[in-house]
């Protein structure tokens, strides 16, 4: 019997696995998809919020501020791109000014460092491309931008390196109470476990219902985005918010750690938590709202639209507790924004709850807490020269838009959690993330995946199960058959 089974390997599951890997425990993570970080974690605003937004006294307030600090520490240690660029909440009229003042007070109450209200002149001096209609703004210097999927990967990889077992392609279909714990059916696995951490994102309510009486209901809220070419990446230097409303923090405009500009999201209730389509109406809304903050965005430079689903529930706060009716079953549910920002702090809560449920926490003698990867394009000429001399594969540029080399792709394919798809490689070392969106490098990445993993090119997927790219060879009998 294992000690802990974590269900779901988004950033919450991965952060929990990372925390638990510090202790002498048998921990298993089961993930429905063929990779980690495939749900809400990979499709959001990629912001580490400062923490002025949640109402004081809530879990969200405490865990956001704590998570903001811890995320930066972990990102620095695990070589995850994360930049503290600060955020601005813009006020356009008197009502907004009042909201900004209220957010300032909340910020102070929540312990957010350095928050202050800026005058219109101060805002313009800081961000000349903002609308001239801005009357005031809240500056929160501790807000940061991050690569959310790389954060999740780094946490999961470090957990696996330190003994946590990850089982991919393992959707949980049954949880049965047994003597001293639970029996979890997850894909081909049947796991007997003393405790369970439910980190199943938008599906956490359904997972809860497999083990315990109904506790909360997810009301998935989808947000759509534009990702702009790097030519637009320097339009603003801070995360630019508008005043929050009932649907969330509104449409933001922000640089990304990869040098692009992100614009979005809207908020739309959807029936299916896996429905990540984009809509014409949603994108129209995003453009219209964003223009209020930053009028000069050139949508001809859009390189991708995407959407992600927030795990909003029928409860206002995060749902973080041991199920009262199921001992040792810990819910980490309703992790909507600021979930990514809070992840390490939520994981620490989970560990506390597990201890309370009787899991004995004995710290390991040694913990390998290091991670780094080659980022060719960020090296100096001298470093590039030396690297290619050492391994010529770093001299072969595969992705021309992002300058990603064969060496980096090979590294990713032999990393702790090897990817099996083109998008899996993209999440690890970024080929295909640029302006041509993999049009040129896709076939070449596919070839390298096939070669390194010893599979045929036809077996290489675009992303999740079923996302086949090619249908056999040309010149076969029956046209496009097999």
């Amino acid at each position: 019997m294992v000690d802990v089974t974590i269900i779901g390997c988004g950033v919450i599951g991965a952060a929990t696995a990372y925390e638990l890997a510090h202790y002498d425990l048998r921990t298993v993570v089961v993930e429905r998809e063929n990779d980690v970080s495939t749900g809400t974690t990979k499709a959001n605003s990629a912001i580490i919020h400062a923490g002025y937004d949640p109402e004081p006294g809530t879990l969200m307030a405490r865990l956001n501020v704590e998570g903001n600090r811890r995320t930066k520490e972990i990102a620095a240690r695990l070589d995850v791109p994360c930049k503290e660029i600060g955020s601005l909440v813009l006020a356009f009229d008197e009502a907004d000014v009042k909201t900004v003042e209220e957010l300032y007070r909340r910020g102070v109450a929540n312990g957010v460092p350095g928050v202050r209200v800026l005058s219109a002149q101060e805002v313009q001096a800081l961000e000349p491309n903002l609308s001239k209609e801005v009357k005031a703004a809240l500056l929160a210097p501790s807000a940061a931008i991050i690569s959310p999927w790389e954060m999740c990967l780094a946490l999961a990889e470090t957990a696996v390196k330190n003994g946590v077992e990850l089982r991919l392609n393992s959707p949980v279909t049954a949880i049965e109470k047994i003597e001293g714990g639970y029996r979890v059916t997850a894909g081909d696995s049947v796991i007997e476990t003393r405790t369970i951490v439910n980190a199943a994102g938008v599906h956490a309510d359904q997972i809860n219902d497999l083990a315990a009486p109904h506790a909360f209901t997810t009301r998935p809220s989808r947000g759509e985005y534009y990702l702009m070419d790097k030519s637009q990446g320097a339009l603003v230097d801070h995360v630019i918010f508008q005043c929050p409303n009932k649907d969330g923090k509104g449409v933001l405009v922000s640089p990304t750690v990869h040098g692009n500009l992100i614009v979005g999201p809207n908020a739309e209730d959807v029936a299916d938590g896996d429905d990540v389509a984009v809509t014409a109406a949603g994108l129209d809304f995003v453009r219209e709202k964003a223009a209020k903050s930053v009028p000069g965005i050139n949508y001809r430079d859009s390189i991708r639209n995407f959407s992600g689903v927030r795990a909003v529930t029928d409860q206002p706060d995060f749902v973080i507790c041991e199920s009262p009716a199921a001992k040792g079953f810990i819910n980490l549910g309703g992790i909507k924004s600021p979930g990514l920002s809070s992840a390490p702090a939520i994981a620490a809560e989970a560990v506390k709850l597990l201890a309370g449920a009787g899991v004995e926490l004995k710290e390991k003698a040694s913990f390998d807490d290091s991670r780094s990867r080659v980022r060719f394009k960020e090296l100096s000429s001298k470093e590039k020269t030396a690297l290619v001399e050492k391994d010529p594969a770093y001299g072969r540029v595969i992705c021309r838009c992002e300058t990603i080399t064969e060496g980096e792709i090979v590294d990713a394919l032999h990393s702790v959690i090897p990817p099996v798809s083109i998008d899996g490689v993209k999440r690890r070392c970024n080929p295909g993330m640029g302006r041509c969106q993999g049009g040129f490098c896709g076939p070449r990445v596919q070839e390298i995946i096939a070669r390194e993993l010893g599979i045929s090119q036809q077996e290489v997927l675009q992303d999740k199960a079923g996302s086949r790219i090619i249908f056999g060879q040309t010149k076969q009998k029956g046209g496009a058959a097999q």
């Binding site: 014409a280 020269t385 540029v397 838009c401 969106q437 790219i469 060879q473 010149k475």
Partner: protein, 422 residues
């Protein structure tokens, strides 16, 4: 270690090959072509259909044959070539930083540079097609590479969005390989492709072309495209509710435009024309940086490779003149402006000293016209006019402005098109 060359050509597609050969013929004996792919020839290598060379060679060739003619010519010169080599940056003082897996990281210096990096395809993100994001949505050029270079089928039931030439060519190509092409859908009320491709690639195979339509939804919940929804659009290109048609398909090919690849040019500080997305060039294809020339699809997207060749030879010869110290220098005598119905011109600037007998000007119109008159005006005076039958945005126009006429012009020369009354 810095390596020196008289001329470095960045890109070994049709433009780079023609520029290098022309510079060699004009006496430049130290030329290096840097090509990122494993072979010379550029995108022509995957264009295995015929129709290339009718203007330049007066015969019908396939893409690889057309490229092959120039590669053969190149082999008779002493032009050096580095393939599988990526240029990472160029600088204003003509330093070229490049890398490959046999020479490593290189810093090269040149007296002159010709930029011939070509163009890339617009993607789904650039046009914001709503719907799911499954596998099976790819650009027509990527599909062409999979099929013609790698030998793989990319789908069995196909809908093509956009009627650009690559999309039309791929409609025929996929049909010949046994796929069912259900429809070609074009947002505009006219096709952006060459008329001969509409006839030979769609009509001959009974593939319907839906003009003034677009894809309004892509459905694919299980990893691969399952269905698309196509709707008619109004005169503002907005979908008209109630006109939806569904196509069960596994593949969507996009042929929705090409964009010159100018990241190297931009980072070097070269002035870019917002309308062409390519460098602003003089009559001899020199960019805003003296000694840096550009030609082919990196300057503006051409319909026919034959014109790429001509333009690139001009750039190659001009680079040779620059190296020999005999080229026109300084600012422009004349600036070309876009008048009514003209989307852009190339060149955008003219130095009279650089014009031999006449300056050739390429331009595109912004609407389909049965007939019209191209007017060239300067200082309120018409200096030339050209009658044309049938003009369309999908077909590049060319006029020759004799030097004698240009000498009468001053400051700005405006090119406009007056539509003949129907």
């Amino acid at each position: 270690m810095t390596e020196y060359h008289d001329l470095i050509v960045i890109g070994g597609g049709p433009a780079g090959l023609a520029a290098a050969c022309a510079a060699w013929e004009k006496g430049v004996k130290d030329i290096l072509i840097i090509e990122r792919d494993k072979e010379l020839g550029g995108i022509l290598n995957q264009c295995i259909h015929n129709g290339f060379g009718l203007t330049y060679f007066k015969e019908e060739l396939t893409g690889p044959e057309y490229a092959g003619r120039f590669i053969k010519m190149l082999f008779d010169t002493g032009v050096k070539v580095r393939t599988d080599t990526m240029v990472l940056s160029i600088t204003e003082n003509k330093e070229v930083h490049a890398v490959n897996n046999f020479d490593g990281y290189m810093v090269l210096r040149a007296k002159a540079i010709v930029l011939t990096m070509g163009c890339r395809e617009r993607t789904r993100g650039a046009i914001g097609i709503p719907g799911d994001r499954p596998a099976g949505v790819l650009t027509a050029g990527a599909a062409q590479r999979y099929m013609n270079i790698e030998g793989y089928m990319v789908g069995k039931r196909v809908v093509i969005l956009g009627s650009g030439d690559i999309g039309l060519i791929m409609a025929r190509r996929m049909t010949l390989e046994g796929a069912k092409v259900l429809a070609c859908v074009e947002l505009m009320p006219y096709s952006n492709g060459l008329n001969r491709n509409i006839v030979q690639c769609l009509n001959d195979f009974d593939i319907p072309l839906y003009l003034a339509h677009t894809i309004t939804d892509i459905v694919g919940k299980h990893g691969r495209v399952e269905k698309v929804v196509v709707s008619a659009v109004d005169e503002n290109r907005r979908p008209v509710p109630g006109t939806e048609m569904e196509f069960d398909c596994d593949t969507v090919l996009l042929s929705v435009g090409l964009i010159p690849e100018n990241e190297l040019s931009r980072n070097a500080g070269i002035e870019i024309d917002r309308r062409t997305s390519g460098p602003v060039v003089f009559e001899n294809m020199e960019t805003s940086i003296p000694g840096v020339f550009a030609a082919g699809n990196v300057v503006h997207v051409h319909d026919l490779v034959d014109f790429v060749t001509g333009e690139s030879q001009r750039a190659g010869r001009a680079a040779a003149d620059y190296i020999a110290g005999s080229s026109a220098a300084g600012g422009a005598d004349l600036e070309l402006a876009n008048g009514e119905h003209v989307n852009y011109t190339v060149p955008q600037k003219i130095r009279l000293a650089g014009v031999d007998k006449a300056a050739g000007v390429f331009f595109r119109v912004n609407k389909v016209m049965a007939a019209g008159t191209v007017r060239v005006m300067s200082g309120g005076v018409q200096i030339a006019a050209f009658k044309r039958q049938h003009m369309a945005p999908g077909e590049m126009e060319q006029i020759q402005l004799p030097r004698a006429l240009l000498e009468k012009a001053q400051g700005t020369v405006t090119i406009s098109v007056e539509e003949a009354n129907a």
